[in-house]
């Protein structure tokens, strides 16, 4: 028989008394075998998970949760309500002293907000729980090490005396998926707080772009030509600069190819399909030479076409040299205007 320290016995009695709503002395007496078995005020069937546990799932069996001191607030979801108590409550110190904080804290998925809030208290509880559990249940890792085995409480090595056959001293608290309850292998992540690290950076970028835009807008005036006139076609007529690459293509290919097929099938559908066509899982540039080459060709090609369209196309959309014939692009008409 494992020797049970007096203070642990006392604490578990308190927890149970709180859960049942009976005086502590009564529970303590019963635990020491000096009093009659404690019956909860109102007996109901334990609430169990409705869906059947699948083979891949594991059952976390936990005794009455330890509700002492600081732990109480954290383990509140796992703390049984008085009405939920199973019929038989027997002293089982080995189990009772096992803190249940690990699932309670880890069940919260990796959602930043909730996790961040729980982060500090949870860590503190884990440390406390492990230290206190060691003398009582050395086989159990304190529930905090994340191993599957660590989450399943061992059966008590010595069945409590005076228990009828088949009466369980544990009850089903919850059924958890084998994988999702917590990250078993802690992925190394190097994270910093968004405030101030990221947000100061963003604020700087925001100020910089606003400043750039204001200065640009003071110095460079937007073009405003003569009023729209359907009878005076300008020579040449050019599209906005981001479509000039396409307009340039139009002078080499059939309009159906350059005006429709290229933007629709290469531009829209082709680009959307990139992630589904590129099956290479690596993101390292050395592993993606072909993809990078293709995209770079696209970049260089569209830049070349656009520059040709903007600068090197003159009257009748024929080739011209900007240094000889001037720039035929009205967006740049008032490019620099220090008025």
């Amino acid at each position: 028989m494992v020797e049970i320290p007096e203070d642990l016995l006392r604490r578990s009695a308190e927890a149970k008394a709180k859960a049942l709503g009976v005086p502590v002395e009564q529970v303590l007496a019963e635990m020491k075998g000096e009093g009659p078995p404690v019956e909860p005020p109102k007996i109901e069937a334990p609430v169990e998970a409705s869906d059947k546990p699948e083979p891949k799932e594991m059952v976390v069996e936990a005794a009455e949760a330890v509700a002492t001191g600081d732990v109480e607030t954290i383990t509140k979801p796992a703390t049984p309500e008085p009405g939920d108590e199973p019929e038989s409550i027997e002293p089982d110190v080995t189990e009772e002293e096992e803190p249940f904080e690990a699932p309670a804290a880890a069940v919260i998925p990796d959602e930043d907000a909730a996790a961040a809030e729980a982060e500090e208290p949870a860590a503190a509880v884990a440390t406390m729980g492990e230290e206190e559990t060691v003398p009582v249940a050395p086989s159990n890792g304190g529930g905090g090490n994340g191993k599957v085995a660590g989450l399943v409480s061992p059966r008590p090595s010595v069945p409590p005396a005076g228990l009828p056959e088949g009466v369980r001293t544990q009850r089903l608290l919850t059924v958890v998926k084998a994988r999702a309850i917590q990250n078993v292998k802690a992925e190394p992540s190097d994270k910093v707080n968004t405030w101030p690290h990221l947000m100061l950076m963003e604020f700087g970028a925001l100020l910089a772009i606003t400043g750039l835009l204001v200065i640009m807008s003071v110095v460079i005036h937007s073009p405003l030509l003569e009023p729209a006139n359907f009878n005076a076609t300008p020579n040449p007529s050019k599209a906005p600069w981001y479509f000039l690459g396409l307009q340039e293509l139009l002078s080499y290919f059939d309009p159906q190819v350059a005006g429709v097929m290229v933007p629709l099938f290469i531009g829209l559908i082709g680009f959307m399909m990139i992630p589904y066509v590129d099956k290479n899982p690596s993101t390292r540039p050395t592993d993606r030479k072909f993809a990078i080459m293709l995209y770079s060709i696209f970049l260089a090609g569209s830049a070349t076409l656009t520059i040709i369209g903007v600068l090197f196309r003159g009257q009748g959309f024929n080739f011209s040299y900007p240094w000889r014939d001037g720039v035929f692009f009205d967006d740049l008409k008032d490019w620099v205007n220090f008025e």
Binding site: T194, I220, M272, P275, R288
Partner: protein
């Protein structure tokens, strides 16, 4: 309080009033826990989290981000800048809407009045125009950055698709705004652009007709482009932006380091 001669100095009184103001019930009710403007704010991990969590704008962000993602050289802030330019364009665009009438008769006169009669009219119009060009550029560069980082790979495939849609919406937004000044540049650029759409196989004429609200650019086209520009495309863009930002978070934040 005493500063030697028994009186309260002005500096001290200002400080006192300031403290009273910032700890008043009104200010307390506006600032949520963890706000750096709150009295007694201290730099703690908890408050750093609260700053992000308890603000309706900042909580687009996660509380923590990967360290490499904060480096300016990784993202060049291009996605954020595109979004910020969109906000700037919305603000300047609302300003311009007060002074603009989308009819063929008045539009050009409004544009002239904007640069002569309206305070800051010319500046705001320039900001709107150059901001639009910058936005097209930054969205495109953002896409290139994402490609070179391979950041479209699983689980981020769908967000890349949303991003391509956003690029096209940006182009449409810019293109529909191009017509609004109703000058020669606008008219003929849109004529060239919509002629390209007319080359669509089978339904080319119908596409062009729907785009121009007629067989050629006219006053109806102006109204159509105006509504598309100030309402339709921004609305659709915001919907896709929301999905885009949401998926960035759900797909595990910024992509890993190379």
């Amino acid at each position: 309080m005493a500063n030697g001669n028994g009186r309260t100095s002005l500096k001290e009184r200002i400080k006192e009033t300031n403290e009273k103001l910032w700890s008043s019930q009104v200010v307390e009710s506006i600032l949520r826990p963890g706000s750096p403007f709150k009295q007694g704010y201290s730099d703690s991990p908890r408050n750093r989290s609260y700053v992000v969590m308890n603000n309706v704008l900042y909580h687009l962000h996660p509380v923590k981000v990967k360290r490499h993602g904060v480096r300016l050289s990784y993202t060049l802030c291009l996605g954020g800048l595109s979004f910020f330019l969109f906000i700037l364009l919305t603000i300047t665009g609302i300003f311009l809407m007060f002074y603009y009438t989308p009819t063929a008769e008045i539009a050009y006169a409004d544009m002239e009045a904007l640069s002569t009669n309206v305070a800051f009219g010319s500046l705001v119009r320039n900001m709107h125009r150059w901001g639009a060009h910058l936005m097209v550029l930054s969205v495109f560069l953002h896409m290139s950055r994402v490609f070179y980082h391979g950041a479209y790979k699983p689980p981020r495939e769908f967000n890349w698709v949303v991003g391509v849609i956003l690029l096209f919406l940006t182009l449409f937004l810019s293109f529909s705004g191009y017509l609004l000044p109703w000058d020669q540049l606008a008219l003929w650029a849109v004529t060239v652009g919509s002629n390209m759409a007319g080359f669509s196989p089978v339904i080319g004429d119908q596409v062009k007709f729907a785009l121009l609200a007629g067989v050629e650019v006219s006053g109806s086209t102006l109204l159509r482009f105006y509504v598309l520009h100030v309402l339709f495309f921004p609305f659709v863009l915001v919907v896709f932006l929301a999905v885009h930002f949401w998926r960035v978070r759900k797909d595990g934040g910024i992509s890993g380091p190379l």
